[in-house]
């Protein structure tokens, strides 16, 4: 069963039951009230008559039985309204206009369910489709036993309660029907967002990650729709990132295969020449040197590529002394700098930073190497740490502004022929960039051609 059917059916059943219970209680109160008023009126009428009759009959009672009989009947008739009261002596009816044998309807004894008020017995009874109030009391006049009773037709009063019940049932049914229809509409309307959610989920599974569900109001379903939207957003973001990553990898592979072509071409050319041509000895020697150089370059490239690949994983960071780091960098680069009469000037104002010491050292060595290649013999390179930033600054040839944004791309070289002569593969800054981002740090570059270049690794602020 669908949720909307369930909700509608159960709420209607509950509503109908509540209305029915309500009506039943109201009707039962009305019935009791009616019965009470019938009973009290009946008893008071009966007892008035009974007292009057017994009291007035005791003082001047005729002796002759016949005269006494007509006296008592007259007395009774003068007191009682005709039609409702019955007077019996023994089993003989002296006055009876009701047409019922009250004594048989109202049996004496404990077995009968009778109510009593003083010595008066009474009850409500339904006889042949009509309702009656019956009250009776035996009376003793001049040592003779009489039986006085009241049989009052109360059908209209009881019927008024019955018609109230019928009206209640009708009104209840109408109210239930209207409420049921309203409930149906409300349920349909409040479940509309589920339909929207369903459609949204279908779109999402169909690969349309940019679709969103319209959110109205502030109920639980709207919250769910909002949650669903933020989930779709997350998925869209992730997919975009995946796509971008795939594109980056594709671009990297394209660059790599392109980059491999030059050394492979050179090796192929030289080896093919040596294999299939008669080459003068010194030219043959040169060809062999070319093959050797290119193979060595390829070997270096594969090492750097391995570094790049290994850097994809997580690294563990520890607080390390920045002063020690800078010293280690100076030590690693001293030989090459000395050969060109260059100096590395350290300035450390930072205590510790969270890092992987070896990786950060190799990143900084890379940057200092770049600075060395860009500088002229005898120049000074500065390696400074301040707050959360480590900077390598040289006063060499600089980087043209339009090249600046691309320098961290793998295989990108500003001056290709010059870099190649110095054994560069265009991977150095890409590796530094990776190391920096593995530390959550940013790599920023600033340069004025012919004046200076400053590369900064900016660590995240604590």
């Amino acid at each position: 069963m669908k949720l909307r059917t369930k909700l509608t059916v159960f709420s209607i059943l509950l509503l109908a039951a509540a209305i029915a219970l309500c009506c039943a209680i109201i009707i039962s109160f009305a019935y009791q009230g009616e019965v009470e008023s019938i009973t009290s009126a009946g008893i008071s009428d009966f007892e008035d008559l009974y007292r009057e009759f017994v009291w007035s009959s005791t003082d001047s009672i005729p002796d002759s039985p016949i005269v006494r009989r007509s006296y008592i009947i007259n007395k009774f008739r003068s007191l009682a309204d005709a039609g409702e009261f019955v007077l019996q002596k023994g089993d003989e009816f002296w006055v009876n206009n009701t047409g019922f044998d009250v004594k048989s309807i109202l049996p004496a004894g404990k077995a009968a369910k009778l109510s009593e008020s003083g010595s008066t017995q009474y009850k409500l009874a339904r006889i042949d489709g009509a309702d009656y109030f019956i009250a009776a009391n035996p009376a003793s006049i001049a040592q003779e036993d009489y039986y006085v009773s009241l049989m009052r037709n109360v059908t209209p009063q009881i019927n008024s309660v019955r018609s109230l019940a019928a009206k209640c049932a009708l009104v209840g049914a109408v109210i239930t029907a209207i409420a049921a229809y309203a409930m149906h509409l409300i349920v349909l309307r409040s479940l509309l967002p589920i339909k929207a959610l369903q459609e949204g989920a279908n779109q999402l599974s169909g690969g349309k990650y940019a679709e969103r569900i319209p959110v109205h109001g502030h109920d639980e379903l709207s919250e769910l729709a909002a949650d669903f939207n933020s989930m779709a957003e997350a998925i869209e973001g992730n997919m975009q990132e995946l796509n971008e990553r795939a594109e980056r990898q594709q671009a990297f592979i394209n660059d790599l295969s392109h980059e491999l072509k030059t050394p492979v071409t050179s090796i192929l050319l030289s080896s093919e020449t040596l294999l299939s041509r008669s080459v003068p000895p010194d030219a043959a020697q040169n060809a062999l040197v070319r093959i050797y150089d290119q193979c060595k370059w390829l070997e270096q490239l594969s090492g750097k590529l391995m570094t790049l690949v290994l850097l994809q994983g997580e690294i563990s960071l520890r607080e390390e002394s920045v002063a020690q780091l800078l010293e280690a960098v100076k030590e690693s680069t001293a030989d090459k700098l000395e050969k060109q009469g260059m100096k590395l000037c350290l300035n450390c104002e930072t205590d510790t930073l969270p890092m992987d010491f070896d990786l950060m050292r190799s990143a900084l060595v890379n940057l200092v190497e770049n600075a060395r290649k860009a500088s002229r013999d005898g120049q000074t390179i500065y390696l400074c740490a301040k707050n959360n930033t480590i900077e390598v600054r040289d006063f060499g040839q600089g980087i043209p502004p339009k090249e600046l944004p691309r320098i961290t791309e793998p295989f990108y070289m500003v001056d290709k022929s010059r870099s190649k002569k110095q054994g560069g593969a265009g991977l150095g800054l890409a590796i530094v960039q990776r190391i920096a981002s593995a530390h959550g740090a940013a790599l920023t570059a600033e340069s004025v051609p012919g004046e200076f270049t400053s590369i900064k690794i900016v660590f995240p602020t604590k």
Binding site: T262, V264, S266, L268, L269, T273, S276, R277, V279, S417
Partner: protein
């Protein structure tokens, strides 16, 4: 007639040197330039080249941009480049290149393509020389020290092939298919007998050397 002059514009020194060595061994004159702007400048001074081998990605001015300079001086161009994508190839050929070769390539293939382009451009030397032998490919005559030598048509073709690819080892199979044609049913022994008769008629013993199990090479 002088040697064909070939301009090589290539920024990778190793590749340029290898190409240069091969051009030299095949009897071409060559000039190597490693920068696009430099090439444009040099062309305005000296442009008597028969062919240019152009890299596309060059410092200064790229190979595509250099095309108009080449066309100004009517120099046929072969692109030699690592750019293997179809749009680049199409662009290269559309703007006027005679050929487009993607790196890495075979040097022997390059030589054949150079020859074809020179031939199409009518710049191929009609007269080949090797030691004291002169061959006129148009008249199909051979002279040794000024004296005419009579050769069979197939012997003549074989001699031309060996001289064009002097210093290159030519396999018997290749000679057979290129001179006798792919349909030829005779064995590679045919090549051996023709080489023997060439050696005898022109006194080329020790010049056309036998490369064991492979074929022959004419050494200059």
């Amino acid at each position: 007639m002088s040697k064909n002059r070939i301009l090589v514009i290539e920024d990778d020194k190793d590749i340029a040197d290898s190409i240069g060595l091969n051009l030299e061994l095949s009897g071409y004159d060559h000039t190597i330039i490693d920068d696009g702007l430099e090439a444009a400048k040099r062309l305005s001074e000296d442009h008597s080249f028969d062919l240019a081998l152009l890299d596309v990605m060059l410092p200064g001015l790229d190979g595509f941009a250099l095309m108009e300079h080449m066309q100004k001086y009517n120099i046929p161009v072969i692109y030699l480049t690592a750019k293997a994508d179809v749009p680049s190839r199409i662009k290269g050929l559309k703007i006027g290149a005679e050929d487009y070769i993607v790196k890495p390539f075979s040097v022997l293939e390059l030589l054949v393509r150079i020859e074809k382009v020179l031939d199409r451009a009518g710049k191929l030397n009609k007269v080949l020389r090797c030691r004291d032998i002169t061959i006129d490919t148009e008249k199909r005559t051979v002279t040794k020290s000024g004296e005419a030598v009579a050769l069979q048509p197939l012997e003549f073709d074989l001699l031309v092939k060996l001289i064009k690819f002097k210093n290159c080892t030519m396999s018997r199979e290749r000679l057979l298919s290129e001179i006798w044609g792919v349909d030829f049913v005779g064995g590679t022994r045919t090549v051996d007998t023709h080489v023997a008769s060439l050696r005898k008629k022109l006194g080329l013993e020790g010049v056309i050397v036998t490369v064991t199990r492979i074929g022959y090479r004419l050494e200059d």
